[in-house]
């Protein structure tokens, strides 16, 4: 299977669009940008793709294109890279590409936060509650919930950095 190739661009697209989108989504955290970036990857990558490229080569090439596309996206929006796509691909299989330790790291960081910080982040980020709803659940004012949320992110970011 290592030297197998795709029959046409259509097959390349069908087989890879999901993971490219998921990868981009995990790097920008919102749907409209993830869609634009996914589109850019395929618009850029498909045309110059070699006919004879094997499946792993195609995957690697798509990932490298995604890496470049994301980097220029961040340069444009923030003047610096906020998130990156790593180069270390031991095995270019789809599973490998999809695997990320980010969700685990998030969970780990959350457990180390003080209870109220953990709670506000879970409610807002993981369970999609509005500030008002989250404040209601925690029995604090909306203003209070906003402050809690901001401090919680600051602390989580610090822990994230220390963990690296």
């Amino acid at each position: 299977m290592t030297d197998a190739s795709y029959p046409d661009w259509d097959a390349v697209y069908r087989d890879n669009v999901s993971w490219v989108y998921r990868l981009m989504y995990s790097k920008v955290g919102n749907q409209p940008d993830a869609e634009d970036l996914t589109a850019e990857v395929f618009m850029t990558a498909l045309k110059p793709l070699r006919v004879s490229a094997t499946v792993p080569e195609v995957r690697k090439y798509l990932k490298m294109t995604a890496r470049t596309v994301l980097a220029s996206f961040w340069r444009d929006r923030m003047g610096r890279q906020i998130t990156t796509i790593d180069d270390d691909v031991p095995d270019e299989s789809e599973r490998e590409v999809l695997e990320s330790d980010a969700p685990d790291r998030v969970r780990q960081v959350l457990t180390t936060l003080p209870e109220r910080y953990r709670r506000i982040l879970e409610l807002r980020f993981l369970q999609a509650f509005s500030v008002r709803e989250a404040a209601g659940q925690m029995g604090v004012s909306v203003a209070n919930a906003k402050v809690l949320q901001h401090r919680a992110i600051q602390m989580a970011a610090q822990m994230n950095q220390e963990a690296l």
């Binding site: 046409d8 999901s18 589109a39 923030m78 980010a102 969700p103 980020f125 999609a128």
Partner: protein, 235 residues
């Protein structure tokens, strides 16, 4: 100390908006990164929208100067050979676990196929058919479903109201065997996360075009036995 840029960034992120321009310092950049990771960790929010996948496929077809569904008109060489079909299926199977998890955890309502007029649902009508027993009526309660495999065909019977119905157990996209997700009353394809209702209608898919519905079998119940009309066994 970080402040307003990060707040604005996080507000936008939690509202699902595009990322706005800013010029964060090191600390703020780290906080933004953390916020993105937390947002992206929300279960079931990372599947591409079907409309997006279809639309991008159309745009790419224009760019590549190809007909939208030109699978057999490939400029890359002959297609549809056995080898290529096998490759396609194998690759997709590698990511099947992910697809299933996403399908079951979606917070958003399932996306219905967008095609205006999906292909009609056919009834399997073999040249030489016979009634084959697939199970006892008593084993199939109202609302229940069960799998059967007759060798030449396999599928799932279910009881809607009083009537028993049966549909094929093979995905109409590339022929992968469906599995019964009983709690959700869905038949799911391990290859491309397509799902069908127990009646055989296509419910969700991530493909550029919706696969046709599953063919139905003729079914009857006689003396407490459920029978399906299937091809006679080869002599």
């Amino acid at each position: 100390m970080s402040g307003r840029p990060v707040r604005r960034f996080v507000d936008g992120l939690l509202q699902g908006r595009r990322i706005a321009r800013a010029r964060p310092d090191d600390v703020e950049a780290q906080e933004m990164k953390t916020a993105i990771e937390m947002r992206a960790a929300r279960t079931g929010s990372d599947s591409p929208r079907e409309d997006f996948v279809t639309d991008l496929h159309r745009r790419l077809a224009e760019q590549m100067g190809d007909a939208p569904q030109g699978e057999s008109r490939s400029s890359w060489g002959p297609s549809g050979t056995r080898r290529q079909v096998v490759i396609g299926t194998g690759l997709a199977a590698a990511s099947a676990a992910t697809g299933i998890v996403v399908g079951r955890n979606l917070l958003a309502p399932p996306r219905a196929p967008t095609e205006a007029s999906p292909p009609a649902q056919g009834v399997l009508d073999p040249n030489a058919g016979a009634w084959h027993a697939v199970g006892a009526s008593a084993d199939l309660p109202k609302g229940g479903a069960m799998a059967f495999d007759l060798g030449s065909v396999n599928g799932f019977v279910h009881r809607a109201d009083a009537k028993v119905e049966a549909v094929s157990g093979v995905c109409t996209h590339q022929g992968c065997k469906l599995w019964l997700d009983a709690p959700d009353s869905r038949l799911r394809c391990p290859c491309h996360s397509t799902s069908f209702s127990l009646e055989g209608e296509t419910v969700t898919h991530q493909l550029p075009t919706a696969p046709p519905p599953l063919p139905k079998f003729e079914v009857r119940e006689i003396n407490g036995v459920i029978e399906v009309l299937a091809p006679t066994k080869p002599a």
